[in-house]
Symmetry: C2
Subunit: 311 residues, 2 copies
């Protein structure tokens, strides 16, 4: 059976950083990525990246290219299209599948860098909208959304903050939430509710997003019977349903917090001393960034290096 | 009196990252740097930087240029040649001096990004050697030091690790330490002492470094009277006396650990809730890196942003 000192699951910025550092420190390391390309959530960044110190890129794809170039130049070992099916923490083995072929890999230390996923509405038209690149940042896209009618879907901080930020730019802002209760902080909610430029629609589900070249309208269904179904003309939809860490693989093996995040200490060790977590699998959305993910990859590789040197 | 929401002391990677993120998050921020240029310890990196994910640079100066370019393009406010003389945590004010002119600046939050300094021997020839760029990494410069006679000065982990790493490359390795007691871990010491390629000289002080274009020899003085003074022919000197965090300014204001580092929590808050520390002022040399410093700058700016939004 194949054995590696460090096995990294996930090829986003955190995993890439850990692999580069393992290589730098002379550690025998392999990175596994489920998708066909490394980069993880970088593929979901459509705006300019201005906050990775020393490097500005047009978008996430450009950052992905630079990171992968660095990774490949360092001769880091990796496998794409490789799904981890199962982690056996007792035998320190993972079972992976690549194109119908299954194999087992044995590790000394495992680094979970599986990231998080944006929750989606799961309605017709949503994926097409995303594929067209109609993905906006409320803080950075004020100019792009100037004079437009914007629907923000969600009931948490980011939904309310986005509505507040865009209310001064957009022509009209709708905040649409399926419940009457909000997860957002009270002062965020107050600020939005008292803003005459924002229409808050509660107990309302979005059932479809329409538009061929760009979003033109959404279908709404009200639960409080005010209206059964309604078509609302909008120019842009911002889905703010939050993110969920990708921790299905590890659940039960290590301690996770109520929000699903893997609990780690200051060197990113989980409750299992042979399993580490970095990046969005263990970081709240508030602190999630390329920069902090890269920093965590560094820390964990340096820590594991010191353990391997000792032994 | 001038007031800023966030005052950053120190313009190395940690401070630059915090400033870029403050700007990104719309926080009123000012960075103060004592030297004439931003960059901090980047000026001491003479080797290729291969471990900042996404960016490889020939040396620290090239990295400095990219980081400063980014910083300046973001319109971050800063002052160079500006020494902080005093921090008054009660009035939340710092006294600074720029070209004989003193002024006071009031802050809401203070970020200490003062870095650390390499301890030096303080002997003739040392600064000239550094200025000539004769600064080596034991892990990265094996090829550059191949076949050479190398003196490593120090008694800690890095000195012993360096001696071990270079023993297979260099022609001869001397490990020179002023005491007979070592701070290094036992297994490091054992590995070096049992290595016939390394000569360990204890109770020995280096009193001078000679050489015009490059190092040619060093003067040694033995405390155990074996020899009074001795000139040793060497081609390279690696000074490994450890680093000390630059925390003189803050001592007494916030809790520091025995190693001098500012004690911080997971969002880099110190024992004073209005004072934060990032980078080498709060990070052990083992975990010090451009990448983790940048990550810490991100975290602290995001955290302070959430506090400022609340208020």
């Amino acid at each position: 059976m194949r054995h590696v000192d460090v096995l990294i699951i996930g090829g986003g910025p955190a995993g890439i950083s850990a692999a580069i550092w393992c290589k730098r420190l002379g550690i025998d390391c392999l990175l596994l990525e489920e998708q066909s390309q490394l980069g993880g959530q970088l593929f979901n960044i459509f705006n300019e990246i201005i906050d990775y110190p020393g490097m500005r890129t047009k978008n996430g794809i450009e950052m992905q290219r630079e990171m992968v170039k660095h990774f490949v130049e360092m001769d880091c070992l990796y496998e794409v299209n490789t799904k981890v099916l199962f982690i056996d923490e007792r035998s320190k083995t993972v079972k992976v599948k690549k194109q119908a072929k299954e194999q087992e890999i044995c590790y000394t230390y495992l680094i979970l860098a599986t990231g998080s996923s944006q929750r989606k509405l799961g309605v017709p038209g949503e994926q097409q909208m995303i594929d067209r690149g109609e993905v906006y940042s409320a803080s950075a896209d004020g100019e792009r959304l100037k004079g437009k009618t914007v629907a923000i879907i969600g009931g948490g901080d980011r939904a309310f903050e986005g509505a507040h930020l865009l209310s001064s730019k957009a022509r009209e802002v709708y905040l649409i939430h399926r419940s009457t209760r909000f997860k957002a902080r009270e002062q965020y909610v107050e600020r939005v509710v008292s803003n005459p430029g924002i229409k808050v629609m509660t107990d309302t589900e979005v059932t479809a997003i329409h538009g061929d070249r760009h979003v033109t309208s959404i279908d709404l269904e009200s639960k409080n019977k005010e209206y059964k179904s309604k078509n609302l003309l909008v120019d842009a939809v911002l889905i703010r349903l939050g993110v969920a860490p990708n921790v299905e693989l590890i659940k039960g093996n290590v301690a996770t917090a109520q929000n699903g995040l893997v609990v780690t200490d200051e060197v990113h060790q989980s409750s299992n001393p042979f399993i580490y977590a970095i990046g969005d699998a263990c970081t709240t959305p508030l602190f999630s960034s390329i920069s902090s993910s890269a920093g965590q990859g560094t820390i964990v590789a340096k820590h594991i290096s010191s353990l391997l040197t000792k032994s």
